[in-house]
């Protein structure tokens, strides 16, 4: 489809003892794509994602992220990605600005860049008045948007989102996805795991993992056609039913 491949995965496998958490998965993701990474709990999504982020070493197989090998060059991988965990991990006892400054520092941004981007981001999120408020005092939806903004604060090539919308109301979720679209428009590749099937519809392409294997990978429209299902929910159900573990 696109020559501009930013994630390339070939036969990636992770084994814990006799348990094969991720079994020989292969796929490519292109630049600017929104890639949905679906699967039931225990299907191996998180393990696969941790390997792509350089947090865990593959048992076998290869993966390159932003052009760097996850096994041999994890530091370079980490420099080029953003990561948002399920818990919107921000520091509660730091203010909005302090959180931004911290992550700017961690990603070695210059003081000037941090200042500039902070102002820009606060305006964008409508948080200028809350810039000196402790993060703990913000509503959940704002925390989540802020966490996403932090994950892409240093302009990474790829951002990994691990179930980013858990516990958030539908309106905020909608707004959140608008932010994801804007990031993708700027050329940031979005790799997202979710349990919400309406969100799966928003993705350019979706992969569905079952018991460590990728059982399906295509655009939502093609998947629905292939499984003769009216919604992504039905596609997911048809596949997830085959699972023997979890």
């Amino acid at each position: 489809m696109n020559d501009n491949i930013v994630i390339r995965v070939e036969g990636l496998t992770k084994q814990f003892g006799n348990f094969v958490a991720v079994n020989h998965i292969s796929f490519d993701v292109s630049q600017g794509e929104i890639f949905g990474f679906l699967g039931a709990n225990g299907a191996g999504k998180t393990t696969a994602m941790r390997m792509l982020c350089g947090l865990s070493v593959p048992t076998s197989g290869h993966a390159t992220v932003a052009g760097y090998d996850v096994e041999r060059q994890p530091e370079l991988v980490k420099r080029n990605i953003g990561y948002m965990s399920q818990k919107f991990a921000l520091y509660d006892d730091l203010t909005v600005t302090e959180n931004l400054r911290l992550f700017g520092g961690i990603y070695r941004m210059s003081r000037r860049d941090i200042k500039l981007k902070t102002r820009q981001l606060l305006t964008e999120l409508n948080l200028t008045n809350e810039r000196n408020a402790m993060v703990r005092s913000l509503p959940l939806g704002w925390k989540q948007k802020l966490a996403f903004s932090l994950a892409i604060f240093h302009e990474p090539k790829i951002v990994f989102l691990d179930e980013p919308t858990g516990g958030v109301d539908p309106i905020t979720r909608r707004q959140f996805w608008e932010m994801i679209y804007r990031a993708a428009d700027r050329g940031i590749t979005v790799f997202v795991t979710t349990h919400y099937m309406d969100e799966a519809e928003y993705c350019d392409r979706v992969s569905i993992m079952v018991d460590g294997h990728i059982k399906a990978l295509d655009t939502p429209a093609m998947l629905k056609q292939m499984f003769n299902a009216p919604t992504m929910y039905d596609v997911f159900l048809a596949l997830a039913r085959q699972a023997t573990r979890g």
Binding site: G54, K78, S85, Y91, D93, E98
Partner: protein, 368 residues
């Protein structure tokens, strides 16, 4: 550098913004030292001194005069022989008896070195230790003065031989200040460090940090630096309190004391780091750290003298870092020994530091 700086700033913010953390870090140590210090440590003024002078000459008279002039001592009487001196201690007429042997002056002039016996009421061990330390310091000063006025080189040395009645070992183990230091530093370093690292795991921020280009070593160092700094501040505060408020003498080398304290801090921080790799919740980290504090209290010699423990417990005690630290601090602070006399304690602590640091670094990396 920028990374480390940003991270250390963040750590200090966490500390300064939490009132409870601040209380534990900065108020608790002061309260503990004052509490134990004031209740148990001595009013060292007005030490009632009795003298048994079998040497009877000008030199011993000069030494006695210096004691009489000193504001901490006052002469309550003399006794003809050591037995009478003991009797004065026993019936509470004196707190300390200074016994000059028959050949004191002779020995001092000829070999430049003589010993003098200090009999103390050891039933208040802490007080007795402080009194002995004062007498020791005074004897040191007197010896120097005498050598200077008489133009003697090398200088005289007057060695006190301390003997505490009613409590022969003087159980200076009962000394709460060194014990408290051992406990407070362990508490701050091990508990606060492990809790602050585990909090990141619980909050999920650790995942984000690990997925960032921050090298694990920078995360570890940034986590340890603030607690190291704060422990050091506490150390100095405790010393100042001891000197000016509790009027506890500091007899030995300050540098040696600081050196061994830093080693002990490293041991405690490494233990905190190790705990943080073993548990997943702040509560578990806190409980494990408290489990460290209990042996620190019972096996460090702070509450029970190591020498009087059953042999098996003595072996157990030798695995407790505080046991070595408290022993060294006691020697340096109260007894004022030379640096080489704490070599063993230093060596043991340094070995512990080395083992624990490598162990905790290895496990921290493995758990990523």
């Amino acid at each position: 550098m920028n990374q480390l700086h940003s991270f250390v700033v963040k750590e200090f913010r966490h500390i300064f913004r939490d009132v409870r953390t601040m209380m534990i870090l900065l108020v608790l140590p002061v309260v503990m030292v004052l509490l134990f210090g004031y209740v148990i440590t001595p009013e060292v003024k007005d030490i009632r001194l009795a003298v048994v002078d079998l040497s009877r000459d000008d030199l011993t008279q000069q030494v006695v005069d210096r004691f009489a002039q000193n504001r901490y001592f006052h002469l309550t009487g003399t006794a003809g022989n050591p037995t009478q001196g003991r009797a004065m201690l026993e019936n509470g007429q004196a707190d300390m008896v200074l016994v000059f042997g028959e050949h004191f002056a002779e020995q001092l002039v000829h070999s430049r070195e003589a010993s003098v016996q200090l009999l103390l009421d050891g039933s208040e061990p802490n007080q007795a230790a402080a009194r002995a330390a004062y007498a020791q310091q005074l004897l040191l000063a007197v010896a120097q003065e005498l050598s200077a006025t008489m133009g003697v080189e090398p200088r005289f040395q007057i060695q006190p031989v301390t003997h505490a009645l009613f409590n022969p070992h003087l159980r200076s183990e009962f000394n709460f200040v060194p014990g408290n230091m051992g406990m407070i530093l362990m508490l701050i370093c091990a508990m606060m460090t492990s809790v602050s690292i585990v909090r990141e795991k619980e909050m999920g921020t650790m995942e984000v940090l690990l997925a960032s280009p921050l090298p694990p070593l920078v995360i570890i160092i940034a986590k340890l630096v603030p607690y190291f700094v704060i422990s050091f501040i506490n150390l100095v505060t405790i010393l100042v309190l001891c000197k000016y408020l509790l009027a506890l003498p500091f007899a030995g080398s300050l540098w040696a004391f600081m050196g061994i304290s830093v080693i002990y801090l490293v041991v405690s921080l490494a233990l905190g780091l190790l705990i943080s790799t073993l548990v997943r919740t702040q509560l578990a980290a806190m409980i494990l750290s408290l489990l460290l504090i209990i042996p620190t209290i019972y096996f460090s010699g702070m509450t029970f003298p190591i020498e009087s423990m059953p042999v098996m417990y003595q072996h157990v005690a030798s695995f407790i870092p505080a046991r070595w630290y408290v022993a060294a601090v006691r020697k340096l602070m109260i007894q004022g020994v030379e640096v080489q006399h704490v070599a063993r304690e230093t060596l043991v602590l340094a070995t512990m530091a080395l083992v624990l640091v490598s162990l905790s670094l290895a496990t921290f990396k493995k758990r990523l």
